[in-house]
Structures are given as C-alpha cells and as structure tokens.
C-alpha cells in the first residue's frame, strides 16, 4: 500500500495548486476551476484518512460525496453569476467587478 504521506502530499498539492489559481487568476471561470481543484484536494484528504485510519465506517467517503454534491451546486450558481457578470460588463475579469468598493 502506498504510504499515507505520499497520498496526503498529493492532496495538499492539489489544494495549494487550486489556491494559487484562485489568488493569481483574473478570469472568473479560471478562479472557479481553482476552487474546484481545492475542493478535490479536500475530498481526497477526507478519503485518505478514512481509508487509512478508520476503514470500517466510510465516514470520509460520505464527506467526499457531500463535497462533490455541494461543489456541483456551487458551480451551477457561480457560473450563472459569472454569466450575468459577463452580460453586464462584457468581461469575466474579477478585478473589474469592484463597484462595491469605497
């Protein structure tokens, strides 16, 4: 079996990659994709711990399923918002959506 450290490293790597995308990218769609990467990292983390530490009760797997479902819903909502933003501004650049600023 693969040592748990390696799997966790992959999970953390996924999360950090997603975080970087969220922070660095300007395109709202790419930001959204970064968010998905982070969620997947988290889900992998859940499953890893479930399989390695408590294989009897599938708790981690259930959480992962929840994450996927919530992520799907969130993408649906977020894409709708981005679509509206694009219609309004002719751009999906998040830095330009700054009218709520002082």
């Amino acid at each position: 079996m693969i040592p748990i450290q390696q799997v966790l490293t992959i999970s953390a790597g996924l999360f950090c990659l997603g975080l970087y995308v969220v922070l660095a990218r300007r395109n709202a769609v790419l930001v959204l994709m970064g968010l998905e990467l982070m969620l997947n990292g988290v889900a992998l983390n859940f499953i890893t711990f479930a399989v390695y530490r408590d294989p009897e009760r599938f708790l981690g797997q259930i959480f992962a399923l929840f994450v996927i479902v919530v992520a799907a819903a969130e993408v649906g909502l977020a894409l709708a918002i981005i679509l509206r933003l694009y219609r309004l501004r002719r751009t999906a650049n998040v830095d330009e959506a700054n009218t709520m600023r002082w």
């Binding site: 300007r26 998040v94 959506a97």
Partner: protein, 644 residues
C-alpha cells in the same frame, strides 16, 4: 361648614367656562362678554361667606378632608380648615374681588380679551380662596404657585407692551426665589414630621419633636417664601413694576390676593415662627427696613400707581414688622391686613378712575381734578385719611393696635413705626393734593409724550368725567368699609358681630387679646399723621414751601430715593456679573464637553478611523482571498503553537 369648598369651587367654575369660551371664541356671543358669570360667582361666594363665618362661630375651628393621594407609605388628604384667620381672609377676598370685578366691567369695557380678563380674575380668586382654606402645606403650596401664576397672567395682560411683559416676568421670577425657599421649607418639615398637615406640624413643634436646627431653617425658608410674595426687602422690586397690569388687577393684588398671601402664610404658621428664637425679631427688622424704605420712595415717585404701590410695600413691611411683635402683633397684623385691604383697594380703584378719565397717570401731568371728579376725590380722600390712620377711620383702629404691639419691642422699633406713619401721611396726602387741588396742568405738559393717544389734544380737559356707575358703586362700598371697617375692634361694636371683646377675642394666637386702647399711643400716632398731613398741605396745597427747593436742598437724598435705593441696580449688576457669567460658564461646559466631546466626539472619531480603514477595501477579490488565507494560516499557527 362642609360647603365651604363652594367658595373657590364657584369661582373656579366661572374660570373654566370663561376660559373655554374665550379660547374657543364663543365668548363674543355671550352677552356682556360673560363678565356677569364671573361676578355672579364672586357674589355667591361672598354671600356664602356669611354662613361659613356664622358656622365657624357656632362650632369653633373645624376641618374636613377627602383622601387625595394614597401610595405605599404615604397618605395625603386634601382638606380645608376653617378658623377665625381663614374666615377673615375669606371675607376680605370675596368682598374685594366682588368690588374689583364689578369695577372692571366699567374700567375694562371694550378691551379685547375682555372675557379672558375675567377668567383670569376668577382663577386668581380661586387660588387665593384655596390658599386660605388649605389645611395642609402641600395644598397651600399648590395654591401659592397658582396665585403667582395668575399674577403673571394679569400683570402681563397687555402682553404686547414690552414693559408689561417684562414686569410679569419680573414678578414671577422674583417671587419664585422665595417660592423655592417655601418648597424646601415645607419638604424639610415633612421630613422631620412625616406629615404635610399643618395641625400635625404645629403639634410636633409644640412637643419639641423637631430638631431646633431643622425648625429654625424651615421657619427661615418659609419666611423667605412670604418675603417674596409679600414684597419684603430685598424682594420688593417686583411689586412697583407690577403696576403695568390693569389698575383693577393692582387693586386685587395689593388688597386681597398675592401680597396678602405672604402675610397670611406667616400668620398661619405662627406656631412655627414663634417657636424659633430670634425669628420674630428678624421679621420685625425686615418689616421695618421695608416699610421705611418704601415710604421714602413713595415720597418722590410721580406715577400715581407707583406711589400707591410703594405705599403697599411700606404697609406690608409694617404688617410683617407687627407680626414680629408676638401674640398681640398677630391679631393686629391681620386686622391691619383686612382694613388695609379696604382702603388700598379703594386707593387703586380711585386712581383707576382718574386714569380712566384722563388717560394719564403721571402726577406731573395731572392736577386740579377736584371739581371735575368730586366722587373720586371724596372716596380717595377717605382712603388717604384711612391710610394715614386718622380716627375714626378703619386705618386708625388697626394701626393703633399694631403700634401698641410694636411699642413693646422697645423705643427704636416704636420710633421707626411712628416715622412710617408720618411718612405714609405725607405721601398719601401728596398724591391727593397733587391730583385734586391746584391748577390743571399747563399746556406744555398736555403735549407730552402720553398725549398722543388722544385724538384731539385739546379735548382732554373737557372729556374728563367722573366715574360711571359700574365703577362708582364698588368705590362707595369700599369707602364705606374703609370708614367703618375698623370699629369692630371696639368691644361694643364687636359684640354685635359676635366678637364680645373686640377683634382680639376672635382672632388670637394662644390666648385672647383683650381690647386695649392706649391713649398715649393713639395721641402719638395721630399727632404724627396730622403732622404728616400738615407738611404735605404746606408743600402741595397751600404751597408755602416749595418741593423743588426741598429737592435741591437734599439733592443727594432725593436722588437716592428717586433711584429707589439702588436695589434694582444691584440686582441688575448681580444678574449681569453673576448669573449671566455663570450661565456662560455652564453654556461653555455644555458646548465644549457635553456637545463637542460627548455627542459629536464618537462620531468624529468613527469617521476619522473609517477614513483610514476604507483603504483596506480594495475591491480586488484576490486580495480578500489572500487575506483570508493569511488569516487562516495565522490561526493554524496559533492553534499549533498553543497545542505544543
């Protein structure tokens, strides 16, 4: 008699109806402006006074009360007590009020706010009747304030005249100084005895249940209230200014209501005052200062109403001085209050008649009216002689009793009292001679500043007429009382009205004062009065001496009198330099500390800080996310650090 509440009740009813009518404008539709309603109430009150008095004589002092306030630990009753003092005051108030109101129908005819005038008069009478009927200090205080308020309304009746509006304010504020003392005094007594009932308080005084220090302080504070209302030095300044009100109001204020309240309070609380050592002497001192000072000023004032006003101040001082002379003084002072009420009301009504006829009230513009106004001249002569205290007029008997009481206080007090008699004869006679004898004023006076209210300047002298019936009848009634009002002091006459030993057996403090006629005192005071009349005749009638030369000879004394002993100036200085200065200090505190720092301060700080904080709101999503991440990392670090 339990129905005694009807006396103030009726006049209050008249006030309610008339004030509502004048507020809603319905008064114009009532025939006669509704004055008859007010007069009817006063008349019925006056008629009801007799059974009340008879009942008091039959049953003696009695009281009755209804529950008023009942809260935990405090039960108050609103009640009335009827004793000789109350009865005398009731008679005086209802009689003078009736005369004044009838007179007012003539004097105030055609006045706008005619109905409101009568409404206010009725309320005034109500308050005063309630004041003398009250059997506890709380009720008395309420009525006391109501009296002050009504005087404010009536002194400021011509509120569109600046002088009248200011005089009303001055009267209200000056008497308030004393009222505060009265209230504190009443509360002190309540704290010491647990009751507002006068009988309870006096009982506590007699049994020595009140600490001497508290008792002295309370008595002093109560006297302060009386000083304010009864215009004693140094609170006398409001009374002469109160002349801005209509003349019948002056008559009411000076004879029966308002100023009588202070003397009444002292008489009513006599057990309290006489229990405090030195208090009576202090009263005599204040009274004598007031009486001499005011009599001096009355010698030089040229406004007829102000002459009479200073005469009132002087006479009130005399009453207070007499009150300070012990048991005999108690009887004499109230007796004097009553007879003074008659002739002082008459003086004012007579003066009002002159003002009504000539539209002038400055002595320098008046004169030689004797032939044109014989009735006014003769009733004013009676009033003046009663004021001087010549036998057998009412003023003689009451003044004589008062002087007998004062003579026990030592030669200095007695001498000053005789001096005040002498002075009052002079100023009274001066007023009369200058009004009714001598030549009519010359033309250059006619064209003075006052003349402009005449449509044709020349017609003034011709238009002068004597008082119409509505004004003449009350004057005659008061003149009759001024003549005979004093003889009840005589045992033979007193017996007819149920006072077998004269007034001293009816109204007394602790023990009856038998009628006591001191020939020495009577001769001395009559001589002093005659001497005063002689001096005034010489100056203003025979004109063998010249007032102008006298003024020049004693110019500094004259200037001091003209400036009224500088009391007003001292007040003005104190207001400018003490009251306003401390007011500015308070205003500064309010503006700088309360407003700027306390209220605006938090707002300013919030705005300033948020001006800095707003730069953190960049509007860039990435920045927010980064800050969140950093925050999370810090939290993790803290958590791990804490765990390890």
């Amino acid at each position: 008699m339990e129905q005694a509440w009807l006396l103030p009740g009726l006049t209050f009813g008249a006030f309610t109806v008339l004030s509502l009518a004048s507020l809603t404008g319905l008064a114009r539709r009532i025939p006669g402006g509704g004055a008859w309603l007010s007069i009817a109430a006063a008349l019925v009150s006056f008629v009801l006074f007799w059974p009340v008095a008879a009942d008091e004589q039959a049953r003696g002092t009695h009281s009755f009360a209804i529950p008023w306030v009942q809260v935990a630990g405090l039960e108050l009753t609103a009640g009335m007590a009827i004793d000789p003092l109350t009865v005398l005051m009731l008679g005086l108030i209802t009689f003078v009020a009736l005369c004044v109101q009838v007179y007012s129908t003539g004097y105030m005819r055609g006045e706008s706010r005619y109905s409101w005038y009568f409404a206010a008069l009725s309320l005034f009478v109500t308050a005063m009747l309630g004041l003398v009927l009250a059997d506890n200090y709380l009720l008395l205080y309420i009525m006391w304030e109501l009296v002050g308020f009504c005087s404010y309304l009536l002194i400021g009746f011509y509120y569109d005249r600046k002088a009248a509006a200011e005089a009303a304010k001055k009267a209200f504020v000056t008497t308030r100084l004393g009222d505060v003392g009265l209230l504190i005094g009443i509360l002190l007594l309540f704290r010491a005895t647990g009751t507002f009932q006068m009988s309870g308080v006096f009982h506590a005084v007699e049994t020595g249940a009140i600490e001497p220090a508290t008792l002295s302080l309370a008595a002093l504070l109560l006297f302060l209230g009386a000083m304010g209302k009864s215009a004693q030095f140094p609170f006398h300044v409001w009374l002469p200014d109160a002349m801005e009100g209509p003349t019948p109001v002056s008559a009411l204020i000076h004879a029966a209501t308002m100023v009588a309240a202070g003397v009444y309070l002292v008489a009513r609380s006599y057990p309290l005052f006489s229990a405090v050592p030195g208090m009576l002497m202090f009263m005599t001192l204040v009274g004598l200062i007031t009486t001499i000072m005011a009599a001096g000023i009355a010698l030089v004032v040229t406004d007829i109403k102000k002459v009479i006003a200073y005469s009132t101040v002087s006479k009130l001082g005399f009453m207070v001085a007499v009150l300070g002379a012990g048991g005999a003084g108690f009887t004499a002072a109230i007796f004097y209050l009553v007879t003074h009420g008659f002739f002082k009301a008459l003086l004012f009504l007579g003066a009002g008649s002159v003002i009504h006829a000539t539209h002038r009230q400055d002595l320098q513009e008046l004169g030689g009216l004797g032939r044109k106004m014989p009735l006014t001249a003769s009733v004013l002569l009676i009033a003046t002689l009663a004021l001087a205290g010549l036998p057998p007029l009412s003023g003689f008997w009451s003044k004589d009793e008062a002087l007998v009481a004062l003579s026990q206080r030592g030669p200095l007090v007695y001498g000053l009292a005789i001096l005040s008699v002498f002075l009052s004869a002079i100023y009274g006679a001066r007023l009369w001679f200058r009004l009714f004898t001598g030549p009519a004023p010359t033309a250059d006076h006619e064209s003075g500043p006052v003349a402009e209210d005449e449509s044709e300047p020349g017609t003034h002298a011709l238009a002068t007429h004597d008082a119409p019936v509505a004004m003449a009848l009350p004057m005659l009634a008061l003149a009759a009382m001024s003549v005979v009002g004093g003889v009840v002091a005589l045992p033979a006459v007193g017996a007819l009205v149920g006072m077998p030993q004269g007034i001293g057996s009816y109204l007394f403090f602790h023990e009856p004062e038998p009628f006591y006629f001191d020939a020495g005192v009577a001769v001395t005071s009559t001589t002093a009065a005659l001497l005063g009349l002689f001096v005034a005749s010489g100056l203003y009638w025979w004109r063998i001496w010249s007032p102008a030369a006298l003024q020049a000879r004693f110019s500094r004394a004259h200037a001091l009198l003209e400036r009224k002993f500088l009391v007003d100036e001292v007040y003005q200085w104190a207001i400018d330099h003490i009251v306003l200065a401390s007011g500015r200090l308070v205003a500064l505190f309010d503006r700088a500390v309360l407003n700027d720092a306390g209220v605006n301060g938090p707002g300013v700080v919030t705005v300033a800080l948020s001006a800095l904080l707003k730069y953190t709101q960049t509007g860039r999503l990435a920045n927010y996310a980064l800050i969140m991440v950093i925050g999370l990392l810090v939290l993790f670090a803290a958590a791990f650090g804490f765990a390890m």
